[in-house]
Symmetry: C2
Subunit: 705 residues, 2 copies
C-alpha cells in the first residue's frame, strides 16, 4: 500500500512538474534546455551542454513603463508546443553556398493571471546553441505597450574569461579587453577610449556579441538576431551573482521600446561549444532571421574595391575642398568662387588614377569619399542640413568619372556620410539613390559619424534602428547595395536583405591610423563583431608607418603585411577593400598578388584552428571554382600552425602560394618582412607555418590542371 | 569761460551719448525708439508712442549654451545705419489687394570686445509699431552656436489688462483669459484645460500674439514674424517688474536653438495704438517676411468648402471604419475582411451627398476626414507608422469620388492627419502629394494631434518648426495648398509661401463641441491668433445644441446663428468652411444664403469698430467686384452698433441684406433666433444694429445696377 501511495504521489508530482516545467534538447542531444515558472510565476530557463550546466536558472520577462503590472511574473503556462525544423537554404553570398537550418523548437504560451495578458516565449535549440525570443500575440489586453527595460538574464556559472568592449549607446569602436568577468568594473575606464559619439551606461555594461571562455574550456557566445523595430541590447553584469541582464538602448525620453502587438522581440542567442571553431562555424544568427525578402537578387554581387579614403584617414589629404570657409550653407555657398586647398583628394585626376589601378588589377570598384559639397563643416557641429548627397565639388565630374570608369570596366562606389543627421538623409534618400542609379553606382558606403539627429536619440535606439532598416529596404527598391558604417552592429538581417553587403560597426582598420589597435584585435573580431554579419574591415595596409604618409601622424599599423593578406580570408566579407594607396601596393606587387587572387564569395569554409585573442586559421573554397584560400592571423605570441590540407579535393594537385612572415618579422619592428614560396600540394599534404607577433600567413591554392 | 567749458562738456557728453545711444522715429513720427548700451555694454531699447513711454528700457541678447561668454553684454557699437523703405506689394490673396510696406530702419552693428564677435540688431519702425531681430553675420568667431535662451525683454509700463493663453510647448487650444498682468499667476491653473498634447513651463508664461490694453487706453500687441529655422517664442512675465522676457521652446535635450552664421532670429514685434482697429489693420507681420518665393502662383486660390468632419467632431459619426480591431498594422490588416461599423462617415454615399450639396450651393470643395486606413488606433498610442496617406478604406472609392466631384464642378480636399508622427509623414510626403495631384486634390488639411514623434520634441521646437516649413515648401513644388492644424501659430510666412492658405493653431470651432468656448472668444482671436496669418476657424454652425447630433454630447455652441454668419467676415481666411451638416443648413436656407454669397478674397478691409473681448465690426470689399460684406461679432454684453456706410462707393446704391440677432436672441438660450431684412443703402447711409450676448450680425451689400 505504501509503495502504491508513493507511486501515485510521484505521478502526481511529475504531473505537477510537467505543468510548470518543460525540457527539450538540441537535434544532436548536446544541449538540454529547461523552462519553468519559478517563485510567483516567473519565466525561467536553464541551459546545459553535454550534461554541464552552462546557464544557471535565469529569469525572463519585460518591465513595462507606466503599467501597474509588468510582464515579469504571475504567469501560468497555457500551452506548449514542440516542433523540429530542418531545411537547407542558399544564401546570395556567404561563407558557404548552402546553409543548413536545423533546430528543435519549444514554444511556451504564458498567461498572466492578474492582467489576462498573453506572452509567448519561443525557444530554438540548434546543435550549437540556444535562441529565444518573446512574442506578443494579437489580444485585447495587450495592444500598445512601452518597454522600460527588458529583463532577460544570462546567469553565468563562473568567473569566465571574457573578451568585451564597454556597453555604449553610440559606438562599438573600442579595442577589446580580455579579462575575467569580475575584472570588468576595474578595467572599464581604461577600456573607454575617445569617440565622436559615445555614451556608456554602467561600469559593468558590455556589448554583444560577447565572447567568453570558461575555466573548463567551454566557449560561450551571447548575441542577438533579427534586431528589427526594437532597441539594441547590451548586457549589464551583476558582479555578485555573475548574472548578465539585458540592457536596452533608450530614446530621448529614457524609454526603451514602443511596441504594438502582434509583435516579437529580437532573438537572444547563446552559443556554447568545447571547440572555439564551432562558434565561428555557427550560422544560427542567419538562421534565426527571415528568409530573403528580395525576389530578384541578380543585382547583388560581392565587390572587391579600392578607394580614395586611406589618405584622408591618415591625414595626408582632406575630404574638404577648401580651407577658406569656417562653414558652408548648401545651395548658397558658391564653391566655384572659393580657393581650393591642395589637399582635396577626391579630384578627377586622382580618381582616374585609382580607376586605372583598379582596372589594371581586376578590382570591381572604386570608392571615393569627399566627392560632394559639405565637408568643410561636416563634423561635430550638430548640423542638420549637412549634405545633399548629389552635388559634387567643382573638381569631381560625376559624369566624366562614370564614363571613364565604365570604359575601364570599373564601378564607382558611392559614399553617403550622414553625420548622424538621419532626417536629412531620409529627406534626400530617394534622390540620392536615384542619382546613384543614373550615374552607374550600384553600391553605397553610408556613415553615421557623430551624435544622432534627432537630438537625444542614440545610434542604437529603436527609432534609429528603424532608420537603418528604412535605408536598407529603400535601397533594395532601387537595387542598391548598402555598406553602413557606424550603424548598429548587424544581427543577421543580411539573410532577409542580402543587399546589406556590409557594416563597419566595430573598430576597423582606420583606427590603425588613429593610434593603432591591439595586434590581436583581428583574432577576436570574428568571435564578436562578425557573429551577426560580415564586416567591411578594409584591410590590406602595406605601409605600417603612418608618418610616411603624414609626418604629423605617428600612428602605427599593428600588423605584419602577411597578417594583412590573411585578413581577406579570416575577416569574412562579400565586400573587400584593398585600403592602402596604389603606390604602396606598387612597392610590393608580389604580395599584392594575393589580394588580386583571393576570392570574395565561397562554397565552403573550414575553421582549421581557432582561439579567440590568440590565433585563427581558416580555409575557404572559392564559389564555383576549384581554388582554395587559407588565412591565419596571429596574436602577440609567435606561433607555429600545423595544418592538414585534407579538405582539398582528393586526387587533385594544387599549386600553393604561401605568403608568410619572414623569420624576423614583427608587427611593430619589422612588419613588412615577408616571404613568398610556392609548392605543389594535395589533400594528403601538411603544412607547418610560423606566424610572428601580430602576424600570419595567407595561401592561395590553385588547382594544377 | 565757465559757459565755454560747460558748452564743451555738453558737446562732449552728447558725443559720448551719440556713440552709445541711437534714436529714430516711425514714418509718421508717432513712435520713437531709443537704443543704447547700458551697464556693461548691454543692448537696450526703449519705445515711446505719441510721447508716452510704452516699453521701458528693455535688454536684448542671447544666452548661449556651453559658452564662456554669452551674447548679452560687453558690446560696443561699431556701426549704425539708417534707411527708409516704402513699397506697395500685391498679395496673392488677402484682406486687401495691395499692401504698403513703409518703415524706417535702424541697424546697429555690435561687437563684443572679449570675444570679437559681431551681432547686428535691426530695428524697423512702422506707423503701427516696432519690429526687431538679431542678425549674425558671417564671421570667424561665431559660426556654430547653441542658444540656451533668448533674452529679449519687453518691459511693460504698468499692470496692463491682458488677453492671454498659458505658455505651452505643444498647443494653443485654450480659451483666453482676460486679466491684469499681476493676476496671470493666480489664474494660470484654471486657464490650463485639457489637451491631447500640452506642456507649460511657467505660471507666468503666456503665448504670442499677446494683446494688452493699458489703463490709459493704449493697445499693445506682442508677437513674432518670420519664424523660420528657429524655436517658437513664448513670453515669461516677471511679476515684480512687469517685464516680459522671451522664452523659447526646447528640444528633447532642453536646448533651444542650433544656429549657423550667417543667420537671423525671427522678428519680435510690438504694435501700439490708441485705436484697437489699428492693431487689426496692421500688416507689419506680413511686411517683415520675405516677398513671395513662388514664381507662378496661378494655382493658389481661395477655397470655400464643406466637409465630412463636424459629425465626427460631435461624436455622431466616426473616423474609424471598424470597431472590431484594437489596433491595425498598415499593409497587414485586411480591411476587406473586417466588419465595418455603421458610423464611418467617409463613405461613398455620404461623400456624394456632400458633393451634391457643395455643387448645388456654389462651394469650391469638399473635405473628407477618415477616408484612409489607420483611424482605428490613430490617437494617443505614440504610433510611428500610423498612416500612409494614400490607402483608402473599402467604402471610399478615390477614383470614383474624384470623377463624381469633377462632374459636379467640385474639388475634393485632402486630409493628412499625421498624429504628430513627423518622420512618418515626411517618409510618405512625396507619394502623398503626388497621390493628391493624380486624383484631383489641390489642397490638404494637415493635422498634428498628439505628442510629437521624434519623442521628446515639441510642436513648437526648432526641429519641428523646420518640419512644418519642409511640408509647406515641398507642397509648393507640387502646387499643393496647405492648411496645417495643430502646427505652430503662423507668423506671416504666407507672404513668402502663399500656398500656406491657413492654419488652425488656436482654439477653433471644434471646441464648441468639446464643451464650448467663451462666447467672446471670437472677439479676441483677431487680436491674437490672426495677427500672424489667417485661421481656418471653420465657422457656420447652425445647430448649437450638440446633443441633437449626439445624445451623449451635451456641449453647446456658445454663439448665435447671426454671430456664425458674421465670422465669415470677421475671422479672415482665404479658406472658409461651412462646417455644419447639410441638413442643418437646409433648415435655414435663408440664413445660409449669406454663407453662399460672402466673398473669401478682398480688395479692401475697413475696421469699423473694435474692442478686444467685447466686439468687432469689419467691412470688406470683394476682390474684383463691387460687393461689400459687413460682419459684427459681440461679446457677452448686448450692444448696439452704429455704423456709417461712408466706405461705399459714392453715387452707387446697394441692396443690403441684414442678418441679425432677433430681439430675444441669446447665445445660450435662444441662439437660432435671427431676422433677415433688406434695404437699399448708399455711402450716406447709417445703420444701427443690436447684437445679443454672443451674437452679431452679417450684411451683404450688392450693388444695384
Amino acid at each position: 500500500m505504501k509503495s502504491f501511495f508513493i507511486i501515485n504521489m510521484m505521478l502526481l508530482l511529475s504531473l505537477f512538474n510537467c505543468s510548470n516545467a518543460q525540457e527539450f534538447q538540441s537535434p544532436n542531444g548536446d544541449f538540454t534546455m529547461r523552462f519553468s515558472l519559478e517563485n510567483d510565476g516567473q519565466p525561467t530557463y536553464q541551459l546545459s551542454y553535454k550534461n554541464q550546466e552552462v546557464v544557471k536558472p535565469s529569469h525572463l520577462g519585460l518591465e513595462l513603463k507606466d503599467d501597474k503590472k509588468s510582464l515579469l511574473d504571475g504567469f501560468t503556462i497555457v500551452d506548449t508546443s514542440t516542433s523540429t525544423f530542418d531545411e537547407t537554404w542558399t544564401p546570395v553570398w556567404g561563407e558557404e553556398s548552402q546553409i543548413r537550418n536545423h533546430y528543435n523548437e519549444l514554444a511556451i504560451s504564458l498567461k498572466q493571471k492578474e492582467t489576462d495578458r498573453l506572452m509567448l516565449i519561443r525557444f530554438r535549440l540548434f546543435d550549437e546553441g540556444l535562441g529565444f525570443r518573446y512574442e506578443f500575440p494579437q489580444q485585447d489586453n495587450l495592444v500598445y505597450f512601452m518597454i522600460k527595460e527588458e529583463k532577460s538574464q544570462f546567469a553565468m556559472t563562473g568567473d569566465h574569461t571574457t573578451f568585451w568592449i564597454p556597453g555604449d549607446y553610440d559606438t562599438q569602436e573600442y579595442d577589446y579587453t580580455k579579462s575575467k568577468l569580475s575584472e570588468i568594473n576595474e578595467k572599464f575606464d581604461d577600456a573607454v577610449t575617445g569617440n565622436a559619439s559615445q555614451e556608456q551606461f554602467s561600469k559593468t555594461g558590455v556589448q554583444t556579441a560577447l565572447m567568453m571562455k570558461t575555466d573548463s574550456g567551454l566557449y560561450i557566445n551571447l548575441h542577438e538576431a533579427a534586431l528589427i523595430n526594437y532597441s539594441c541590447m547590451s548586457l549589464d553584469l551583476d558582479e555578485e551573482t555573475m548574472v548578465f541582464e539585458s540592457h536596452l538602448t533608450p530614446d530621448a525620453q529614457d524609454n526603451k521600446a514602443y511596441m504594438q502587438a502582434p509583435c516579437n522581440s529580437p532573438w537572444r542567442t547563446i552559443m556554447v561549444s568545447d571547440d572555439a571553431r564551432d562558434i565561428l562555424a555557427s550560422r544560427m544568427t542567419l538562421n534565426l532571421n527571415e528568409p530573403c525578402a528580395i525576389e530578384d537578387t541578380s543585382w547583388i554581387k560581392p565587390v572587391k574595391y579600392i578607394g580614395v579614403w586611406w589618405e584622408m584617414i591618415t591625414g595626408k589629404s582632406s575630404w574638404a575642398y577648401t580651407d577658406e570657409l569656417p562653414a558652408v550653407q548648401l545651395g548658397f555657398t558658391d564653391y566655384s568662387k572659393v580657393k581650393p586647398n591642395d589637399t582635396h583628394a577626391a579630384n578627377n585626376t586622382k580618381v582616374k588614377r585609382y580607376i586605372d589601378f583598379a582596372s589594371e588589377h581586376g578590382f570591381d570598384g572604386v570608392l571615393v569619399e569627399g566627392w560632394n559639397e559639405g565637408w568643410e563643416d561636416w563634423f561635430g557641429k550638430s548640423k542638420d542640413y549637412v549634405f545633399d548627397f548629389v552635388t559634387p565639388y567643382p573638381d569631381f565630374d560625376v559624369e566624366e568619372i562614370h564614363k571613364y570608369a565604365k570604359s575601364k570596366g570599373v564601378k564607382m562606389i558611392m559614399h553617403h556620410e550622414t553625420s548622424g543627421s538621419t532626417r536629412n538623409y531620409e529627406r534626400h534618400m530617394d534622390k540620392a539613390y536615384k542619382f546613384m542609379k543614373d550615374n552607374g553606382y550600384d553600391a553605397v558606403k553610408s556613415g553615421y559619424v557623430g551624435n544622432i539627429i534627432p537630438r537625444g536619440e542614440h545610434h542604437y535606439s529603436q527609432y534609429i534602428i528603424n532608420h537603418y532598416q528604412y535605408a536598407i529596404e529603400k535601397a533594395a527598391d532601387y537595387e542598391v547595395m548598402v555598406n553602413a558604417h557606424e550603424a548598429v552592429r548587424p544581427t543577421g538581417i543580411c539573410r532577409t536583405y542580402p543587399n546589406l553587403i556590409g557594416n563597419e560597426s566595430a573598430r576597423g582598420t582606420e583606427f590603425q591610423a588613429f593610434g593603432g589597435s591591439k595586434p590581436n584585435h583581428v583574432t577576436i573580431l570574428p568571435f564578436t563583431r562578425l557573429i551577426g554579419g560580415p564586416m567591411d574591415y578594409t584591410p590590406g595596409i602595406f605601409e605600417m608607418d603612418i608618418s610616411k604618409l603624414n609626418p604629423n601622424n605617428n600612428s602605427h599599423v599593428n600588423s605584419t603585411l602577411a597578417n594583412q593578406l590573411a585578413l581577406y580570408v579570416t575577416m569574412y566579407s562579400p565586400l573587400q577593400m584593398a585600403a592602402d594607396l596604389p603606390e604602396h601596393y606598387e612597392q610590393f606587387m608580389d604580395a599584392f598578388q594575393f589580394i588580386k587572387d583571393v576570392a570574395i564569395d565561397w562554397d565552403k569554409s573550414i575553421y582549421l584552428e581557432a582561439e579567440p585573442g590568440d590565433y585563427l586559421t581558416i580555409a575557404r573554397k572559392e564559389k564555383g571554382a576549384s581554388s582554395w584560400f587559407i588565412g591565419n592571423v596571429n596574436g602577440t605570441t609567435p606561433r607555429t600552425s600545423n595544418i592538414k590540407l585534407d579538405f582539398l579535393e582528393k586526387g587533385k594537385t594544387y599549386k600553393a602560394t604561401i605568403y608568410a612572415d619572414a623569420k624576423d618579422a614583427h608587427y611593430k619592428t619589422n612588419p613588412q618582412a615577408y616571404t613568398i614560396k610556392t609548392k605543389n600540394v594535395t589533400s594528403k599534404s601538411k603544412l607547418s607555418l610560423w606566424s610572428a607577433p601580430g602576424g600570419g600567413f595567407a595561401i592561395s591554392l590553385e588547382e594544377v590542371k
